[in-house]
């Protein structure tokens, strides 16, 4: 299992489009992937759970991946966050 902290830096936080991208990406890995914010732990492969996490800008969340491709999973998801979800906002 790997855990890594990321900060949400895009303007709108985990809004619909960003959540869609995150979920789509998470689904490409076989590892179990979770997002953790305070006491909430949600499955990154479920758009409903990701949306409901309500993570807005400047929130710090933890990524957690367990499985054969956990390294790749964490790295690619982390870069999605640092690249503003490819939207530049």
């Amino acid at each position: 299992m790997i855990r890594r902290k990321v900060k949400i830096i895009n303007k709108l936080g985990l809004h619909a489009r960003a959540s869609s991208k995150l979920t789509q990406l998470a689904c490409t890995f076989s590892s179990e992937i979770f997002l953790i914010k305070d006491n909430d732990k949600v499955n990154a492969k479920s758009i409903m759970e990701v949306l409901m996490l309500a993570a807005s800008k400047n929130t710090v969340i933890s990524l957690e991946a367990t499985g054969v491709d956990e390294k790749e999973a964490i790295t690619s998801i982390e870069s999605l966050f640092t690249n503003y979800f490819g939207e530049g906002d």
């Binding site: 619909a16 949306l51 807005s56 906002d89």
Partner: protein
């Protein structure tokens, strides 16, 4: 039935009279009933089937959208599709069916309510709104379960039906486009909603934010939609109906009359030539520029080139677009405004978010801090200038040093093109947007250094009155007739006239035909506006005598309050 009126926000003008066509709100129809033990597997199957059907529908819509390349809508559909296949969304209702021995509709609604309650607790307004996506997906499934028509193809194609809905989702919007509705009415929405965009593109009246209209209006009830005033009249009396039939005819005649003045020379009664130009956002707007007889393009916004994409447009891509617009205007003026957006729109640029974007790193400030990006755009514009009459317009200038830096960069771009032996218009005119109050006050200084001035009234008002127009709580304070605004416009026009430089207005004030005479009286000779406004402004110009209006305008400029200004303007227009 007794008549009643509902007031809303008009987002598209015109008058329509017709029968209400209610778009069902499936959620209201859901009732609970008991499912016997041995029927439960069938009930689960029914739900699975419905979800599959909706999935197929959405995929079909997505395919259509890709053909029409509407990326914005397509992203919405993607989110809907993902919600649909989410196990939290689709599996839990099945458990509810088994546990509560209830019908699929009820189970689905119960699960949705749980989601909606959770969303309601979210503080972030934007994410909170996502509950609507969940509701829209549930609505779609319910319609299948309840046996409602999902495609709107069964709707009669009569041009006298008026669509009444709680809200129009992007997927719906696309389908409605094919039907000849006479008007759109929705409970929700604002002037930038899908409903508004759709209605304006179809040129039919539309009123939104009607709150509870969907519940108050019944199917097939007769309604009058007055899109000019934002009023819906349900079950009108005979007298009112006759009155509106007259008004509708007059509106139609008015529109026809306007189309007749299209080819008349645009001169005032005292023979002064007035130039009416068009604002465009994308090259395809050219069609309506020509339809309305604009004498050129007074404002070509270039932001579209930079939006909805991950990379930046290169020189070649920009050049091709500027060239095609310029060529299609065959020698008429095309004023190209350099990039006027904030850093947040650009992936490669510095994307630190300022807390006050309207006052932050945007427009010319951004371009000067990203000289490479700016150089690409300048070179593309200059290269296109060999194909027609292009002018460059610099947005959001606030000091002379910015202007000088900009001119230096333009000179450099010219030089590099000369070195490459690439053709361009060596005498290309450079103008500045007057939208920062500091520049309007100092207009004379800028008039001496620029070839033309263009007043962007929308931002000028926002900056002068310190009003954020997008903030509902203060937007009512936004007032184009504030004495200070008229003074700043007057200073700018006088400065331009004194130094023999063209002055135009390219904000919304230029397209408001109620203000045409006032502005003519103040000495304005160039107006740039949304193409659809040109003919009604032209009608005012043809009936004006600028000498007489000058005296009246002086009076307006002396008034201390906007209420008095309004009364005076009404007198001028009589």
């Amino acid at each position: 039935m007794s008549p009643f009126n509902i007031h809303g926000v008009s987002v598209s003008n015109g008058i329509a009279i017709g029968k209400a066509h209610l778009i069902s709100n499936a959620l209201l129809e859901v009732v609970r009933y008991h499912i016997i033990e041995k029927e439960i597997p069938n009930e689960v199957k029914r739900l699975t089937g419905a979800i599959n059907d909706v999935r197929k529908d959405l995929l079909k819509i997505k395919k259509q959208l890709q053909k029409n390349s509407s990326e914005e809508f397509s992203a919405f559909i993607d989110t809907h599709l993902m919600i649909l296949v989410d196990k939290n969304f689709s599996e839990k209702p099945k458990i509810i069916i088994r546990e509560d021995s209830c019908n699929a509709e009820w189970a689905l609604k119960k699960q949705m309510d749980i989601f909606v309650r959770k969303f309601e607790k979210i503080k972030d307004e934007y994410i909170k709104e996502r509950k609507n996506d969940v509701i829209q997906v549930v609505e779609r499934i319910l319609k299948v379960l309840l046996g409602h028509p999902r495609q709107t193809s069964q709707i009669n194609n009569e041009s006298s039906s008026i669509l009444v809905a709680h809200d129009i989702s992007p997927a719906d919007a696309l389908q409605f486009k094919k039907h000849n509705y006479a008007a759109f009415l929705t409970d929700m929405g604002g002037s930038t909603s899908h409903t508004a965009i759709l209605a304006r593109s179809l040129n039919i009246p539309s009123i939104v934010a009607l709150q509870n209209a969907r519940n108050l209006i019944k199917n097939n009830e007769q309604i009058i939609v007055d899109g000019n005033q934002g009023i819906v009249i349900v079950n009108p009396s005979k007298y009112i109906l006759e009155e509106y039939q007259v008004r509708q005819n007059l509106w139609g005649i008015e529109q026809k009359k306007l189309s007749k003045i299209k080819n008349i020379k645009c001169k005032t009664l005292n023979n002064e030539k007035i130039e009416l130009l068009a604002n465009i956002e994308v090259p395809s707007d050219i069609a309506s520029v020509k339809e309305n007889g604009a004498s050129g393009i007074g404002l070509f916004r270039t932001e579209f080139l930079f939006m909805n994409r991950k990379d930046l447009p290169n020189e070649e891509e920009q050049f091709e677009i500027y060239k095609s617009v310029t060529k299609s205007m065959s020698g008429k003026t095309v004023v190209i405004r350099t990039l006027d957006s904030g850093a947040d729109k650009l992936t490669s640029a510095d994307t630190t978010i300022s807390s006050n974007p309207a006052l932050g790193l945007r427009a010319i400030r951004l371009c000067l801090s990203e000289p490479q990006l700016f150089n690409i755009q300048l070179r593309a514009i200059l290269k296109a200038s060999q194909f027609g009459k292009i002018k460059i317009l610099i947005p959001m200038l606030s000091s002379l040093s910015e202007l000088r830096q900009t001119k230096l960069l333009i000179e450099r771009a010219k030089k590099s093109l000369s070195n490459e032996k690439t053709l361009y218009d060596k005498n290309i005119k450079i103008g500045g947007m007057i939208e920062v109050p500091a520049v309007a006050i100092n207009a004379e200084v800028f008039a001496q250094e620029l070839d033309f001035l263009s007043i962007g009234t929308n931002d000028l008002i926002q900056y002068t009155l310190a009003i954020d127009r997008t903030d509902d709580r203060v937007s009512h304070l936004y007032n184009s007739l504030h004495p200070a605004i008229l003074k700043l416009i007057n200073i700018t026009i006088k400065a331009g006239n004194k130094h023999n430089k063209e002055v135009s207005i390219c904000g919304e004030m230029a397209g408001d035909s109620k203000l045409t005479k006032l502005l003519l009286g103040m000495g304005l000779k160039h107006f740039s506006m949304h193409p659809s406004r040109i003919l009604s402004v032209k009608k005012q110009v043809l009936n004006s005598n600028t000498q007489k209006l000058a005296t009246l305008s002086t009076k307006v400029l002396k008034a201390k309050e906007s209420e008095i200004i309004e009364t005076l303007i009404n007198k001028i227009n009589q």
